[in-house]
Symmetry: C2
Subunit: 388 residues, 2 copies
């Protein structure tokens, strides 16, 4: 595409995109610019599969290889045969696109091949301000276009609050079919310890929105029954550890307190009572780093890298990286590889520092490559594969 002459007079707007997309589909995927990097274990090529995404936030793979990409302003996009489809998916719920809010995570149902259901998390307006919500919908495709049908909101963070920060939010299906949703404290720090709210919690719901009977606070007076764990600040990354089946979360801390946690039923992860960080004012947080009854992180970053999306690598192109947790960083503009051994982090490698801008999300693709999204006005979809 970049080879087109500047005097090209193709019609603007959606139609031109559709034509170009069709052309690309006919002639094969558009040639991607690749940049080569040495990492500790491999020399890798990073190629740009798509650009022009507006603050993309999450990507997901469907069983046929199609990718879904959310853009924070509220669009859901398809990437077919490594080509970005110009027309967004229609029928996406209205989102509150302000500050850190907007359209956030997307995951297909484990039985997507049969059900065509996908799940979206997003910030929505409502009484009292805004909050995170989760919707499920049926993805209906017709040629290159697609729409959502039967959209149903299955979860709403309570209460809504007036800030535009710390929404979370990632969606992870557990092996038992339950859905985890990570929720920020919306800038209302003390609420992370308050079980009567969803702020700063990981919740666990049945994919129809009902509450599983075996949630830890079912039957506890004053506690919201969806809560799985609490004391979180703003978990913008989450992934299922394929080896253990456990949920791992990655959260933004205050200055110097970004954390990796393994949220367990009913446990308290300490925010804002304990933290490895400080407030951005430099003021100390809570009582320090430890407190009886509060869990320690598996790993933390000080100084903060501003971690967002996370994924365990489970492909075959990089055997040495199998089981490692990859985390994208916004402020530090890098990809962190945590070598996970026996449930602990044995080493950290940082790659691509400053090369691509803010890295919002990372996924282990069915093709064995590592896929990244950059959080920029002209955001990119990148593919990391062994150098040719």
């Amino acid at each position: 595409m970049t080879d087109l002459p500047a005097t090209d007079v193709r019609p603007r707007g959606r139609r031109s995109g559709a034509i170009l997309t069709a052309l690309a589909l006919i002639t094969g995927a558009a040639p991607a610019a690749a940049e080569t990097f040495r990492t500790d274990d491999y020399t890798v090529d990073v190629s740009t599969v798509a650009s022009g995404l507006e603050h993309p936030w999450s990507l997901a793979f469907l069983p046929d290889g199609t990718m879904l990409v959310t853009e924070r302003p509220g669009r859901l996009r398809l990437v077919v045969d490594r080509t970005l489809v110009d027309a967004p998916v229609s029928g996406v719920p209205d989102v509150y696109a302000s500050g850190q809010g907007g359209l956030l995570d997307v995951v297909p149902a484990p039985d997507f091949a049969d059900s065509n259901l996908i799940f979206l998390s997003y910030a929505e307006r409502g009484d009292g301000g805004a909050g995170t919500a989760v919707a499920r919908a049926r993805l209906v495709r017709e040629g290159m276009s697609a729409r959502l049908e039967d959209v149903e909101v299955i979860f709403r963070q309570q209460p809504k609050t007036t800030t535009s920060r710390h929404f979370g939010s990632r969606l992870v299906f557990a092996p038992d079919g339950m859905l985890f949703v990570t929720l920020g404290e919306r800038g209302q720090r003390p609420l992370a310890q308050d079980l009567s709210t969803h702020n700063g919690k990981v919740v666990r719901i049945v994919p129809d929105g009902s509450v599983p009977d075996d949630n830890p606070f079912v039957g506890t007076a004053g506690a919201r029954p969806e809560i799985w764990s609490y004391g979180h600040r703003n978990p913008q990354g989450a992934a299922l550890n394929p080896e253990t089946g456990e949920l791992w979360t990655v959260a933004h801390g205050a200055r110097g307190g970004d954390e990796v946690n393994i949220p367990k039923a009913g446990r308290n992860y300490g925010w804002p009572v304990i933290s490895y960080g400080r407030h951005y004012s430099g003021q100390k947080i809570g009582v320090g780093t430890h407190k009886e009854g509060m869990e320690q992180p598996v790993y933390y970053w000080d100084p903060s890298i501003a971690p967002s999306g996370a994924a365990f690598y489970d492909g075959d192109l990089f055997p040495e990286w199998k089981g490692d947790l990859f985390v994208g960083a916004l402020k530090f503009q890098l990809l962190s590889r945590l070598d996970v051994e026996d449930g602990r982090v044995a080493s950290e490698e940082r790659m691509f520092e400053g090369a691509f801008g803010r890295i919002r999300d990372v996924r282990s693709g069915p093709d064995g490559a590592i896929w990244l999204l950059t959080d920029e006005a002209n955001g990119q979809l990148l593919r990391v594969a062994p150098a040719e």
Copy 2:
């Protein structure tokens, strides 16, 4: 001292040093140049307490605050009231000062206040080449000078080999009074797995050189009874974890395989069968990173930082760092702080990168400061304290 005019005609040689030292003792410690650094938790001043040390390797504190410093070519020096005494301690055993060999570690006996015993590790020549040895001796002080008496070699690595690399060696007293000695494989990789040699082992001896009855290979035919653990490459750092009483070691790996281990009785730490590194040729090592019956490191560095001395911080000047493991790095010229939580590394901070050259040793001082030695021809003794 640096203020002396260039035309100063003071006599050269040892005597001038003694005069200057005496002057310093009279007028108080020489003013130290301090450089200020921001770390994650503190702003610190790093001051040069002594310079002109020739490849210093280890430092130790005596109960009265006097410091002992080894220089690899074979000298043992005193630092009294933060002033380097010019005259080396006499009576030090002859060392094999070549390549990585020379005078290495120094530790006082736990009962030094009564016994005046110190322990030295060093490379020595002998039948077949060179190897690591451990001597104990009585330190006799007379004014500013000191000598070793009753020098007795209590351990000799067997067999001696012809290379001049991978001697180890650190000495650590366990809480039960036993002495751990870390030993490199002398460049003879397969011997690290061979229990009939001391190469690539941690040994455990009674401080008189005899073998403790409860060592793991006592009574095992063909195994040297001093062996505590095996499969080590070149452990040049070791420290007692004050919280658990366990020995922790830090070893140079091949390219990308520097390790932190907690050597336990009779266990195999895998070199050269498993490693996170590669040979410097780029060739793969052994069978990979894991093998049944071989232990995983607590932490590793890839790429290698070339770690040497290590110490757990147990002072009061930096409360946030209590219990953290500090490791000096040669190639990367930095001080690594590993935040140790529940026996695992929860985070790493790197400080002073490139500022002082190769950092050979680190100690937690009785004054609460962190003390460093730089491995240079003009090596320095540095003190890290909170900025004033």
